[in-house]
């Protein structure tokens, strides 16, 4: 009987430089990726600066009264009322909210409202992700369910949000189970989840179905059932599809929250603040921008949190770079 030493030696000669090549590649990788990360961040910051510069540039060279052709406005007005300086927007953030002596500063009010909206959006996101994943699982497991449910999922997104918001509020206000009373913010979260579940269900379904026949048959040959195949093959394989879907869902949940706050009339959130402050543009041009910054911030935070989540499942995205 042969000893195991023989094939080992054969292998190492047959794969010239194999071991070396792989080792040095993996050793070089971290430094390279760190540089890439900094570069990405740098370009991102550059993009923001660029938008600011364009704003100020247009304000500087654009016509004071704007430019209209007949009744159509081609170029916006550049006066301080219509287009405040970026510095004005930030200065306003530091000033008190109202003229009252005990008023909190603007940024403080914006942070409070943003935190509230972010909380509602997060609840909506969680519900949406849960529902979306469940739908995807059901559709993956039962082929008939896929043809029955998928059209409804797509149809659901064609219904305008503004049409559902008052309905959800009215239905919700009737609910009272024991000590549990339906509150308006729950309606907002529900509407946010209505927008959030869609990308998750579609992305997860695609991801769960992504393993090729080769892998599915391999698991079949191992004689394992649907659940084990789900946890060891389908879910890990769906990660590359799931991460962008979860990010989309986060953005959708934020938008859904803000729009639903406005159409339901929920107080305390950033959506209501945007509407309230928009009226102040005439006398206080920096004011409407404060809640807009808040809305941008929660959008970024929501997407960022999902991005951090994605880092923890990085190894499941290996297949993306090479097969």
């Amino acid at each position: 009987m042969n000893t195991t030493a023989t094939p080992t030696m054969q292998v190492e000669t047959a794969v010239p430089g194999g071991a070396k090549g792989v080792r040095s590649r993996s050793a070089r990788a971290p430094r390279k990726s760190r540089i890439a990360t900094w570069r990405k961040a740098g370009f991102g910051a550059l993009g923001i600066v660029f938008v600011g510069l364009m704003w100020e540039l247009y304000k500087f060279i654009g016509p004071e009264k704007g430019f209209t052709l007949g009744d159509i406005t081609i170029l916006p007005r550049t006066n301080d009322m219509s287009m405040p300086h970026i510095s004005t927007m930030f200065e306003r953030l530091m000033e008190p909210l109202t003229g009252a002596s005990n008023s909190v500063t603007m940024w403080h009010a914006v942070v409070d409202a943003s935190a509230f909206s972010l909380y509602v959006a997060a609840v909506g996101w969680l519900i949406g992700v849960t529902v979306g994943l469940l739908l995807a699982l059901i559709m993956q497991h039962f082929r008939t369910a896929q043809s029955a449910v998928l059209p409804w999922i797509i149809l659901s997104q064609t219904v305008p949000l503004i049409a559902i918001a008052p309905l959800v509020r009215r239905w919700g206000s009737g609910i009272e189970i024991g000590s549990f009373v339906w509150e308006n913010w729950m309606s907002v979260a529900l509407i946010a989840s209505y927008l959030a579940f869609f990308p998750v269900s579609i992305g997860a379904l695609q991801g769960l179905n992504s393993p090729d026949t080769n892998h599915v048959e391999l698991f079949r040959s191992f004689g394992v059932g649907w659940w084990k195949t789900l946890f060891r093959l389908r879910i890990p394989a769906s990660v590359p599809y799931l991460i962008p879907a979860l990010q989309l869902a986060a953005a959708n949940a934020v938008i859904g929250t803000i729009v639903a706050e406005v159409s339901i009339g929920l107080k305390g959130g950033i959506g209501r603040m945007i509407i309230e402050f928009a009226g102040a543009a005439g006398g206080d041009p920096g004011k409407p921008w404060a809640p807009i910054f808040g809305a941008v911030a929660i959008g970024l935070i929501a997407a960022g949190v999902v991005g951090v989540l994605a880092l923890s499942v990085r190894r499941y995205r290996r297949g993306e770079t090479s097969a």
Partner: protein, 298 residues
């Protein structure tokens, strides 16, 4: 028929390291049944609008324990289908098929065979070691035992230095070696291989054939090996089964008489016996059914 396997020292080699890992799964009832027994098996695929494609017809074949059988034939002749029937990935439309005396279905559930496809089919998020341990993990083998077995297999396929690498860091040949190690994880007595070296270049391919022969000698497993390369079929096999184009029938079975798996080394490729078998297989492969070639299905 099975007497030719005397020199492959089947009984000695089945007791080689690792057989104890999952041996408990196998019932004692199947000790003397052949690895694979195929009696009058046919397979018909139902096409669109009731059209039928006869993939296999009247297949009779017995694979003894420890025997290496190559299936060869023109593309689309159903050689892969035949292997898939043994693996219970497809079901025969007629006839009877048993694996170690059990139905193919039961044999699959009992993990009587290991399987390797043309694509290595490694899970990209698992390291080499984790890929090899996958079947063991799925069948709830303990961590220590898994690690012991995967270390043995990593050594056997010569990838001990790469245990913590991910598949995308390996060459095609190395990936295929991992796939073979994975198919051996549960020490099966039967290996099913569907053109496992089909995607490799000629150099790597010949090297891998030598490796496989060595592994077979080491483990004593029976092998059903699907290929479309005549030298590959002959180099590895005790018997080469030549299939005819659709509907797939067994046209001939060539006994290579090249000795046991441990004798399949590179100098065999230069021998006259090897060339004789290659040309014999080639004649059957290219000959038509209309002209009988003397020797029939033995």
């Amino acid at each position: 028929m099975t007497t030719q396997n005397k020199e492959t020292t089947v009984q000695d080699s089945t007791t080689s390291p690792g057989t104890s890992t999952s041996g408990s799964q196998r019932g004692p009832a199947s000790t003397d049944a052949p690895a694979v027994s195929i009696v009058n098996v046919g397979k018909i695929f139902e096409g669109k609008r009731g059209a039928q494609v006869i993939a296999l017809e009247a297949i009779n074949l017995e694979v003894a324990r420890g025997e290496f059988v190559s299936l060869i034939g023109p593309s689309g002749c159903g050689k892969s289908t035949l292997m898939r029937l043994i693996a219970d990935l497809d079901q025969p439309t007629s006839g009877e098929l048993t694996v170690f005396g059990k139905t193919a279905h039961q044999a699959r559930l009992d993990q009587e065979y290991g399987i390797a496809f043309q694509q290595a089919g490694l899970l990209p998020w698992r390291t080499v070691r984790q890929n090899i341990e996958l079947p063991l993990q799925l069948h709830k083998v303990g961590k220590a035992q898994r690690e012991k077995r995967s270390s043995e297999l990593l050594k056997l396929v010569g990838l001990a230095d790469f245990s913590d690498n991910f598949p995308d860091q390996l060459s095609g040949g190395m990936q295929q070696r991992v796939a073979i190690a994975r198919s051996l994880a549960e020490s099966p007595n039967l290996l099913l291989m569907d053109e496992p070296f089909g995607a490799l270049d000629e150099m790597t391919r010949e090297h891998m054939q030598g490796e496989l022969a060595h592994i077979c000698a080491e483990t004593g497993a029976a092998v059903v090996f699907v290929t479309h390369s005549i030298p590959e079929a002959v180099f590895l096999a005790n018997r080469v089964v030549v299939l005819s184009p659709r509907p797939g029938r067994i046209r001939a079975i060539v006994d290579t008489k090249l000795g046991g798996a441990s004798e399949r080394t590179d100098h065999l490729r230069e021998s006259t016996e090897f060339f004789a078998s290659v040309s014999e297989v080639r004649e059957y492969l290219h000959g038509s059914d209309a002209t009988p070639l003397g020797v029939d299905n033995r």
